[in-house]
Structures are given as structure tokens and as C-alpha cells.
């Protein structure tokens, strides 16, 4: 029901989104890259079986999601306080800080922006959700798929997609409300402003924060609305193409390594 040319066009059109989705699922740039390639190979090999029940983009996301599930099924999920654990590990790792400062000063994608760190933090913290909830949350809230499409991607019913989405959203709304000092004065995590002070020592952090809609709305909006504003920030940033991509990917690699050790998977 689709030609090879149509597959190639669809793959080119959604490759960037697929790769960022897979990065946010796996928290590992190499794994994301590998799964994107594998997705194409699998799609190419089975294109005759594509019946046109969905768009090619949805079909490609289904293949990629299945490959990611295969990779992650036996692995432990991260704890909600992942950023605290990784911060402690980073504080005692001078070499890592040196490397980050080097990226900051030499790379074209080595800028530090608070918005980029909010996205990075979202990637780390949402990995504490059970895998199916994690997939559904990203597909709906970040990549804009409809419930019906997500049901096709994860091969489940629309009712269960709604259940996973509701539970995941409720959980993450609470976690960010409890943890994030940007939206809650009692929040326990100030990592983005702390890092901004290190990487951008001459910058006025308050001025930067005042540009972020989620921070401006912190006192007036509900925690659910603030979660929506957070996902809008995540939607707006491509973790491979942004001006902070190299810095944030290096940071993510660090956290991935720290968590593997922490969870006994290294």
C-alpha cells in the first residue's frame, strides 16, 4: 500500500523527530541513532506488509517504539530524584566538569540555556515512569500523536492509552511541582539556575528566567497548566540540533552512565 519512494520521503520527513523521541526514551544518543537506522531497515524490508491502516510516519514510530522496548524491557527505570543522584556524582568528577567547560567554550552547540536544561531535566525525570507510560506521554504531549494513533503505535487499546496518559501526566505533574524551584518556591531542585551560574557567569539569571512562559506563569496557573507549558518547551527543542545540543548530550551521557552504575547495570 506504499511505494519505496513514499517510505523514503516519510522517513526523511520524520527522521529528526523519531531520533529525538528515541533519545528521550533511551537517554543514549548512540542507541537512538542505531534504532533510527534499524527502523528504516526494518521498514524497508517489510514495506510490502504495510496495509495503510495508519500513516507511514505512525508506522515508522511503531517500529522504532518496538525496537526501543526490546532494548529497555529488561532494564530498570530511573528514580524520580535522578538529577540529585547525578548531581552528586558530577560534583565529585572534576574531569567531567573540565570536559563540559571545554565543550562550552569550543563547540558551536555548547551554549547553556535554561530552557534547554528544562528539556534535559524532563528527559531524565520522565524516565522514572513505567515504560509504556513513558512512551505514551512523549507520543501525545511532545510529538502530538492522537490517542488512536498511539494505540496503533504501542499496539494497545485507546482506553489503555488514555489510562497510561492520565497516570503519567498526573505523576509527572506532581513530581515537577514538588521538585522544580522554577515553579514552586519550595521546590528542591535548582540545578538549571546553578548550572547557568557556572556556564554563564556574567548572565543575569533572573532576566533569563523572566523570558520563560512557564516561570512567568508559576504563581497564577495550576500545576497541570504549568506541566503543559513545560511540555511546550520540550516540543520546541530538538536535542540534536539546538544551540546547546553538544553540551546537553554530553551531560545526558554522564547521567546515563551514572544511572547504569547506580542501578547495577554497568
Amino acid at each position: 500500500m506504499a511505494t519505496l519512494e513514499e517510505l523514503n520521503q516519510s522517513f526523511e520527513d520524520c527522521k529528526g523527530q523519531l531520533k529525538s523521541y528515541l533519545l528521550r526514551i533511551t537517554t543514549n544518543a548512540d542507541d537512538a541513532e542505531d534504532i533510527v537506522q534499524e527502523t528504516y531497515l526494518k521498514a524497508h524490508a517489510t514495506i510490502d506488509g504495510f496495509r495503510g491502516d495508519s500513516t507511514l510516519k505512525t508506522w515508522l514510530f511503531a517500529i522504532g517504539s518496538n525496537l526501543a522496548r526490546d532494548l529497555l524491557r529488561s532494564k530498570k527505570r530511573w528514580p524520580e530524584n535522578v538529577t540529585d543522584i547525578c548531581k552528586s556524582a558530577a560534583m565529585s568528577n572534576q574531569a567531567f566538569f573540565g570536559e563540559m567547560m571545554q565543550v562550552r567554550s569550543t563547540s558551536e552547540q555548547g551554549n547553556f540555556e535554561i530552557k534547554e536544561h528544562i528539556t534535559f531535566c524532563f528527559t531524565c525525570v520522565t524516565k522514572s515512569l513505567p515504560l509504556e507510560q513513558h512512551l505514551v506521554l512523549l507520543l501525545k504531549e511532545v510529538y502530538g500523536f492522537k490517542v488512536k494513533e498511539i494505540a496503533g503505535i504501542i499496539d494497545n487499546t485507546q482506553a489503555m492509552v488514555k489510562y497510561y496518559l492520565h497516570v503519567a501526566r498526573s505523576r509527572m505533574t506532581e513530581v515537577f511541582d514538588h521538585r522544580c524551584a522554577l515553579i514552586n518556591k519550595e521546590g528542591v531542585c535548582h540545578q538549571c539556575t546553578e548550572l547557568n551560574g557556572i556556564f554563564n557567569p556574567k548572565q543575569n539569571a533572573q532576566e533569563e528566567l523572566a523570558k520563560i512562559e512557564m516561570v512567568k506563569a508559576a504563581e497564577d496557573k495550576t500545576k497541570e497548566a504549568l506541566f503543559d507549558l513545560r511540555t511546550q518547551i520540550v516540543q520546541s527543542i530538538d536535542p540534536f540540533e539546538s544551540g546547546a545540543a553538544e553540551l546537553q548530550l554530553r551531560h545526558l551521557k554522564h547521567n546515563d552512565e551514572v544511572m547504569k552504575k547506580h542501578l547495577g547495570e554497568d
Binding site: V147, T157, A159, K162, H166, V167, E174
Partner: protein, 164 residues
Amino acid sequence: MTQLNNSGAANGKAKTTKSTFSRETSVAIQIESSSEVVWALLVNGPDYTRWNSTIVSFEGTIGERETIRLKSTLDPNRTFKLKVRAVKPEASMQWESGAAPFFKGVRTYQLDTLADGSVVFTMTEKMGGLMFPMAAGQIPDFTASFEQFAADLKSEAEIIRKLK
């Protein structure tokens, strides 16, 4: 999964019947959601404290022969240790405590799907045994707690159904 034609007295009001050696409290409520969502809520133990205002804390996994520990608003200072039995996905399960013939409590959850696709949730707890008459005076009335549990489950499952 049972197919029913109507909801009967699934009005969310709890009913208790007593005898010398046993007590049984039951509540039934009609929920405009699918049995798989209601079931998913019932077996996701760690999520109970988010939507179920009668549960104070929960530990364990709800699955066949698993042991769970929970604190309820009925007695927040006491941890109930329960064994999960007779799990039939999207249909029924039981949580048991104690041991016959002295004192045994069995809570049964049951889902029945109506012809229109909605679900009747029924929760029944039967306690009894030779020691029951001595303990009966100290066991709180379940009526309000059962009605609240059923109302919370209905509210949560119906919110999920309405998601776009």
C-alpha cells in the same frame, strides 16, 4: 467478564448484613468507562494513594499470590497484610487476611460489563469465624469507606474515558 443487561442497584450505596459469626459489607456502582481501565486502576497498587482517598499507603504488587500491605483511613495506624487470590483479569479478584476457622476476611472485587459498555463495580468484604464475636466490637463500620472507594474509582475511571 460478565455481560449484564442492566445495572441493578449499582447506586454506590453500601449495605451491611450481620450475624453472630460474620459481617458482610457490599457496594456496587455503575461506571461509564471500560472494564480494562477500571481493572488497570484496581491492580496498579502504587497509584492508589493518588486517586483513592480511602488508602493512606500501599506497598506491594497486586498479582496472584502476591502479598500486599496497606493502610486505610479506617485505621491509619494499622497496616493490613493481605494475600491476593483468584485474579481473573478484568473480571474479579480477592484480597484475603486471617485464617479460617478462627478469623478470616475476604474482600472481593468484581466487574460486570453492561450491554452499553459501561461497568458495574462491586466490592464485598466478608469477615467471619469463631473469634469474630469477640473482635466485632472493635472493627469499624465500613459503610462510608466503601462508598468513598466506589465513588473515587468511578470518578477516576470516568475522567480517563473523557480524555481526548
